[in-house]
C-alpha cells in the first residue's frame, strides 16, 4: 500500500500548518463535494487543498510526493471526461483561488493569468482593450483557464482560431519534484523542445499549471451571425460540408438537430424554429467588405441545400440571444431529463454526413433519445443521450451505444476527443487509435516528467501502456 491513514493525517496536519484550516479539507462531506467533475465517474480524495500562490502549490506537491500520495489538480470541475476526478487517497489541489489577471500587454497582445481565472471573466476584463481570449468552450461562464489548458479546450470559435493550444504561449508549472519553471514564453520559437505543447492537453499528468501566458485576439471590426433552418438534418450537414469544401472557414459553424432545438427553446426562449429538422448557427467576422461576401456565399450554399429560413442577427442583442441558445444546450437537456451522456468525437469533415447518419442509426437501434449539438465546421460531434439512470440496465445501454458511436467516428478516420480530453472516460479506448508502440512512447513521455506516476494517475493512458522491451543499447 502506498499511503496509510496515519500518513494521510500527518500530511493533513502539515498542510494545515502551511495553508490554515480553512484551505485544507478532510471531512467526508467536503471530500464528497470534490469527488466528481461534470462527467460520470467519481473518486475520493484524502485531502482537498486550496492554494493561493505558486509557492504554496510547490510546497503541497513536495509534501504529498514525499508521502507518496497521488496529486490531482482541478479547476472548476466542468470537464466531462473525468480528467479532474481525484484518485482515491489523493491530494486534490483546487486552483480556483489563483484567479489573478496580471501583466496585460496590449501591444504584444498577451497576458499572464492564474489557472483559476474563469474563461469568460478574462475576455470581459479585456473589453476596454478591444481584445479577447479566443477559446470559448460552452462552459466558459464557469470553466477556468487552467482547466482549458488541461483539456486543450475548444469551443465554437476554435473553428477559425484553433483550440486552447494555439492561444497559450507559455505556462508556469510546478513539477512533481516541487520545482517551479516556465515553459515557452512570449518570444516566438524558444530553443529546445516544445514542452509547453506537451503540457497543454495533458490533463495535469505532467505538472501542475500555476500561471498561463495567453495570447489575446483583437476583437473583429464587424460580425455577421446567421441562424439557418432546414427541414432535414442531412440538408444542414451537406451545407456544412459544402461551406468548408468551398474553402471558407467561418468564425463558427454550429449545428443543432430538431430534438435539441426544442429542448433549448423551451429553456431559453431565443426564438429558435421549433419544428425544424436542424439549424446551423454560422458566424463570419472581419472587415465589413470581406464578411458581406462571405455571408452571401454561406446563404447561397444553404439555399442550394434547401434551407427553409435564414435569420440574420440585426444587432448585438440578437446575436447574443442566438449564441445563448447554442451555449445553453447542455443546461437545457439537464432540465429535460435526469441524466445525460455527452460524447465528443471528431471526423474528417468529408465524412461528416455519413457518420451523422450512423450515429442516429445507433441511437435508434438502442432505442435511446438522442439530441445533437455540435461544432459542425470542425467535424466535432457532440451526440448527447438523454436518459434516466434509475431505469434498470439503462446506464450500461447508454455506454454501449456511446462506444459504438466512437467506433463509427474512428472507422471514418476520426479520433476519440476533439476538446473534452481522454480522462477516465476514454482511457481504455486509446488503443483504438494508437498502436502499442504509440502508447508506449506516450507513457515514456509521461515518465520523463513524472517517473513515479504520482500526478493524476489513471488518466489518459490505459494500464499497461508502457512496454519494457527497450532495445539494448
Amino acid at each position: 500500500m502506498r499511503w496509510g491513514y496515519d500518513d494521510g493525517m500527518d500530511l493533513a496536519a502539515r498542510l494545515i500548518e502551511l495553508l490554515g484550516a480553512t484551505r485544507v479539507h478532510t471531512h467526508p462531506i467536503d471530500r464528497l463535494i470534490y469527488a466528481k467533475d461534470s462527467g460520470v465517474s467519481s473518486g475520493d480524495p484524502a485531502i482537498v487543498v486550496l492554494p493561493e500562490t505558486t509557492e504554496e502549490v510547490a510546497a503541497i506537491v513536495r509534501m504529498a510526493a514525499g508521502a507518496d500520495m497521488p496529486i490531482v489538480a482541478r479547476g472548476a470541475g466542468t470537464g466531462l471526461a473525468g480528467g479532474a476526478v481525484p484518485a482515491s487517497g489523493s491530494v486534490l489541489v483546487v486552483l480556483t483561488r489563483m484567479n489573478a489577471i496580471y501583466d496585460v500587454d496590449e501591444i504584444g497582445r498577451t497576458a499572464w493569468v492564474g489557472p483559476g481565472v474563469i474563461n469568460l471573466d478574462l475576455s470581459d476584463a479585456l473589453v476596454d482593450q478591444d481584445l479577447h481570449f479566443a477559446p470559448d468552450p460552452s462552459s466558459q461562464q464557469s470553466s477556468t483557464i487552467g482547466g482549458n489548458v488541461g483539456t486543450n479546450a475548444g469551443g465554437p470559435h476554435c473553428l477559425a482560431e484553433g483550440s486552447t493550444i494555439a492561444h497559450v504561449l507559455g505556462v508556469e508549472i510546478v513539477t512533481v519534484d516541487g520545482d517551479i519553471m516556465v515553459l515557452g514564453g512570449a518570444a516566438p520559437d524558444p530553443p529546445g523542445y516544445d514542452l509547453r505543447g506537451l503540457i497543454v492537453g495533458s490533463e495535469g499528468t505532467l505538472g501542475i499549471v500555476t500561471r498561463v501566458l495567453v495570447r489575446l485576439t483583437e476583437n473583429p471590426p464587424d460580425v455577421v451571425t446567421m441562424l439557418i433552418s432546414f427541414d432535414g438534418i442531412g440538408d444542414a450537414a451537406r451545407t456544412v460540408s459544402d461551406i468548408i469544401g468551398s474553402g471558407l472557414v467561418p468564425a463558427a459553424l454550429e449545428m443543432m438537430d430538431g430534438p435539441m432545438i426544442e429542448a433549448v427553446e423551451n429553456f431559453v426562449h431565443a426564438g429558435l424554429p421549433v419544428g425544424a429538422g436542424a439549424v446551423l448557427l454560422a458566424e463570419v467576422v472581419g472587415h465589413p467588405a470581406g464578411i458581406a461576401a462571405e455571408a452571401d456565399l454561406i446563404r447561397e450554399i444553404a439555399v442550394a441545400n434547401a434551407a427553409t429560413d435564414i435569420r440574420t442577427a440585426t444587432d448585438e442583442d440578437e446575436r447574443a440571444l442566438l449564441w445563448k441558445g447554442r451555449k445553453s444546450a447542455f443546461g437545457a437537456v439537464a432540465q429535460a431529463a435526469p441524466d445525460y451522456y455527452l460524447n465528443d468525437t471528431v471526423v474528417p469533415r468529408t465524412r461528416f454526413v455519413e457518420v451523422l447518419d450512423e450515429i442516429c442509426a445507433i441511437a435508434d437501434r438502442y432505442d435511446l433519445r438522442l439530441l445533437n449539438v455540435f461544432h459542425a465546421g470542425d467535424g466535432n460531434f457532440h451526440p448527447l443521450i438523454s436518459f434516466d439512470a434509475s431505469e434498470q440496465g439503462m446506464s450500461e445501454k447508454v455506454v454501449a451505444a456511446s462506444h459504438e458511436m466512437v467506433h463509427a467516428a474512428i472507422a471514418a478516420g476520426g479520433t476519440l476527443s476533439g476538446e473534452h480530453g481522454i480522462g477516465i472516460e476514454k482511457r481504455d479506448l486509446m488503443s483504438r487509435v494508437f498502436s502499442v508502440d504509440d502508447l508506449d512512447a506516450q507513457a515514456r513521455v509521461r515518465e520523463a516528467f513524472d517517473p513515479e506516476g504520482l500526478l493524476n494517475p489513471g488518466k489518459i493512458l490505459p494500464e499497461g501502456s508502457r512496454c519494457f522491451d527497450r532495445p539494448a543499447t
Binding site: A186, D189, P191, P221, G413
Partner: protein, 371 residues
Amino acid sequence: MTTLRSVTRELFERMRDETVEIDAEFVVAPSSLEEAAAVLAAASAAAIPVSFYGAGTRRDDGGTAPADVVVTSNRLNRIVDWKPDDLTVTVEAGVAIETLESEIVARRQTAVLPETAVGATIGGVIAAGISGYRRLRYGPTRDRVLQVRVATGYGKVVSGGSPVVKSSTGYGLPRLFTGSLGSLGMIGTVTLKLWSQPLTAATVEIGDAAAALQGIYRPLAVLETSEGSFVYLGGAESQIASQVRRVGGDPHPGLIWPEPITGPLRIEFRVSAPFVPAAIERAKHLGASRWIAEHGIGRVEAGLDDVDAEDFAAARTWAESTGGVLVVTADAGTGIDRWGTPPASIEIQRRIKAVFDPAGICNPGIMPGGM
C-alpha cells in the same frame, strides 16, 4: 563502424543513396518509415551517430552534428492523401514545399509553409520548426501539424496526434517533434491543416510598420526590412482597397516577399513583439548588412559578414533579459555558441531526448545545452 559496416552492407545496401553529396560513411534513403526505423535500431545498437537530410537547406541550424550515417528523405516523397474538402493533407517528409503548394493551389489552398525556403522539404521545415511570414495571420507551422508518423531513435515507428483538424487525444507529439531538429528521430509522414488562399492579395510599402500593425485588422504579415517596410494584405478586393486607405502607400498586386537572408553569418533575435524595434537597433549595431523583422511576431533575422564576440555577447544578454533569445542559424565558423543560456526546463528536456533517443545517436549535440 565495423559492426555497422557489415550490417549495413547486408541489410541496407539497397537503401544506399548515391544522389546526395554528403561527407558520411553511409548515406541511405529508406523507402518507408519502417526501413528508417530499422536503420535507427541498428545504429542505436551499435551507438553510431545518425543525422537526417531533406534538401540540405537548413544544414546549419544548431550546427552540423557529426554523423557516420545520414538518412535522407529522398524516397519518402509522396503526397499521400490530400482532402481538399476537409482542408487537410497527409504528405511524406521528402516532398518539397513548392511541390505541395503548387499541387494544392489548384483548389486555391495553401499549407502556409515558409514563402522563401526555396527547395526545402516538408520534413526539413517541420524538423527545423520554421514558419512563414504569414504566421501573423495563420499561426506558426507547429499549430498546423495535426499528426506525425516518426521513426524514433530507438527504432520504432510511432504516430502521435490525430488526422483531423481538432483533437484532444493523447500527448502532443506533433508539437514535440516540430523544431526537434532530428534529435529525437526521423519525421516520416505528417498531416497538415490547410487554409484557403485569399481571393486577392497585395503588398503595400509603408513608412511605420509598428503603427500599421496596430491600425489594421489581421494583415497577413507586417515586415520591416533593411530594404523598407511592407504590409501584406489578403481578402476581397474592396477589403484590400479599404485597408490600403488606412495605412497609405501604393499597393502592388500579389505578395512580394523579401529575398531570404544569406551571408556567411546569420542570427535571429526572437523576442516578444514589443521588443522588435529595439532588436532591429541591436542587429544594426552588430553590423547587419541585411535584416528582416516580423512585427507582431518578434523574430528579427539578420545577415552579417562577421561579428565582434563582445558585441554579440552583449546583444545576447539583452535579448535574454527581455525573455527572448539571440540564436545563430549559420555560424560561418565563428564557433559562437548557437543557442545561448539553456532553457530552465533543460533537465526535463534531457529526459525527453533520452525517451526517444536513449542511445544518443540522433544529431547529438544539436539542441540547446549540447543535447
